[in-house]
Symmetry: C3
Subunit: 313 residues, 3 copies
């Protein structure tokens, strides 16, 4: 991101209350993450592992949480929390713009809290409660009886509370189970674009406090997701499953119905979880097994061609 | 789901014409599925396999299709069809609310049948025909020339009839094939949220009668899906493929183009179907093979680490 | 597709300036692709490999790029470019209809080029630039600061520029990184339905000229996709990854963050790309490896049951 004009190092330092190392009049013209920086840019680093990468990058001003020697031709901004200060700067120079006079639909007995922004084209059903300080992006659809806490963000075109995928097999057809349950998003939940969170059949589908979902995630009916979970893009959770707190599911993971994934479990991308998993461990594969075991098996599979040859001998 | 007030057992029994076993004044305060029940709740069970689970659950009133001994402190409702009666009760206590005065768009030469509800924000193209008794949820988009039968339900934000993904490679670019085919959803089809059903290039994409799609399903151009199929969330079917009647694809299955999946085949979650499959069998894996063979291979893979060790000796 | 009336062979030949072989009054009543044709239909073939299939299909008029013997009871239209001429005919008989008086929303400092059609329900944020000759289908959402070139097509319900999925782990919660980057779609890009293209955190997410995305594709923040790539349905690319020109990702492929896929690489369906891939090669598997190696390993896995048996002996 280019800034609206050139700033001096000392101007930036004052904005974030950081200690400036280098020429106070040093020119700052942009702000960017480490993988995208060019000369004139500020970037940030807050982990020792990446100090060298940041200091040697094309960025000429680095927000850093250690008083390291300043590289030739560059400047530093010493901060106790570079992420916070970088975030402050991007918000300062490119603040979030809230919609003006959006037109949206809201049903009967539904309420929206204070300081909550509902964007254009959002459709909110009946008996829905939305808390304070939320942002609901355009064309989101929220079905009847959904409960949305405070500080919740829902990105565009997501659907909250679609009907459960639940049918009874009759001899000649499938009969639809009527969905009358709720969808509950607790405080600080964030949902990506084009996600689908189905309502409970007659109970609640719950996304716990602070849990973050990326785009195109499917959460089936009556799932209970814990607090501070990370669910990456294109994951799908079937239904009636419990995901405990602080679980991480990486991209395109599938989880079957009616199981439990224990607290803090981490499931690698593209895995398929077919049974309950103990917490605190890492998993991979379809069906998912403990990460080390899965990797070991892959290593042996790679040796099969040679092994068959050797055996033939 | 909590009921609006406490009901007596006999009141509920009369609603569904069931035989009540236990104190007629026994209090019923809620209704829920077996995995979510608490004291005061009604639940239902219609399969011998789950009788004990239901009778021993926290539910205190059980709709059941056999005259079993009533557990201490509980009551029973004997029904010839517990699913039907449970469904009746949830609809009675939490009826589906149809939208009032929704604003939607409809193109030229398009028609909507009687008793069909079109929700807010739906966009219907030209030359579209929608039958009777349908529900089209908010922000669904239906492209030109789509044909939708009777009793069809389309959940929010789904797209019916998007252009085929079909290009000709030219030396320096891809040239788009013009899509002018149709999308046909036969009677009783139900489509989840955020699905994409592409139109035929110049023929028809067809979803057969009674087939149900979960959320985020992709149906490519010119696919012909049979009757009473179940396609779970995040499945994708490439194009020009035939899925015969009563096929079940579980979650995140991918199906390549221009093949046939035979009647009644069942494909397990996360499988990738790379060639035609015979009907009446179960499959798993990527590429998918017969279920038993796939499971057998997985079992042997798990033995590889020990086998390599043994061979070394 | 049925035509509005019966046409004679010579009428059709004149429309596309082709040489007609057979009875000039031969009746043409429809137009369809080879897999869907019936008597009276025109179809096309432009590859020797498919000549016989086309000539022996139910189509009775074949647009073909070689002067082959005309089958009994059929007619030919000789063309130097059957795809172009077929496409011309479908556009002639079923032209794309642009929306009349659509209502959409556009933010501050945003502009739309000439001959660009914005459909009903589209929401365009602030500081967005959309070029000439584009089609933006209904209910698409375009976030602030997006840049869209000329001749771009975006199918319905897609989201351009959603927030990056980027959080910092704090002891008790995840802190959201403010997204202020852009999303850039270069000229001739086409995006399917219900896709999600996230904006850069503070840099740009870029989709290169002529690249085509199918439905339900996820492109994470700060990815840079090259020119003339094909990305099939339900692929997901994590973030900060570079996909060079002319890469093909088939359906449901996942790509991890911060890697490079080299020019012209082809990744088979359902693969999971966990590290950078050299260009010009084919890959398969999760994790993806060179196609031949992956297929070889699969072949040996299939032999495991017999091998274990033999070893036991």
């Amino acid at each position: 991101m280019k800034l609206d004009r050139n700033y001096s190092l000392i101007e930036i330092a004052k904005l974030i209350n950081a200690k400036a190392i280098g020429d106070e009049e040093f020119v700052v013209s942009g702000i960017n993450e480490i993988h995208m920086v060019t000369s004139g840019d500020i970037t940030f680093v807050d982990h020792e592992k990446y100090y060298n990468k940041a200091l040697n990058s094309n960025a000429t001003t680095i927000i850093i949480n250690k008083d390291v020697p300043c590289p030739e031709g560059k400047t530093l901004l010493i901060s106790d929390d570079p992420f916070r200060d970088y975030n402050y700067l991007t918000k300062f120079f490119s603040p979030l713009q809230q919609p003006e006079n959006p037109i949206y639909t809201i049903g009967k007995n539904s309420s929206v809290g204070i300081n909550t922004y509902i964007h254009q084209g959002v459709v909110i059903g009946n008996n829905v409660k939305i808390g304070d300080n939320c942002i609901i992006y355009p064309n989101v659809v929220i079905y009847d009886h959904s409960i949305i806490g405070n500080n919740v963000i829902i990105q565009a075109n997501t659907v909250i509370g679609g009907d459960a995928f639940y049918y009874k097999r009759r001899p000649d057809y499938y009969e639809k189970m009527h969905s009358c349950g709720r969808t509950v998003l607790e405080d600080w939940v964030e949902i990506g674009c084009n996600c689908t969170i189905d309502r409970g059949v007659s109970g609640d589908t719950i996304i716990g406090q602070g849990t973050k979902l990326d785009n195109l995630v499917q959460i089936g009916h009556d799932n209970v997701i814990g607090k501070n979970c990370i669910i990456a893009s294109q994951c799908g959770i079937a239904g009636v499953t419990t995901i405990e707190d602080e679980v991480i599911l990486w991209g395109q993971v599938g989880v079957t119905k009616d199981i439990i994934i224990g607290k803090g479990a981490i499931v690698s991308a593209k895995s398929g979880v077919s049974k309950s998993l103990e917490g605190g461990k890492s998993y991979f594969g379809a069906p998912a097994k403990e990460f080390k075991q899965a990797i070991l098996e892959l290593a042996y599979i790679a040796k099969l061609p040679k092994m068959f040859k050797d055996l033939k001998k």
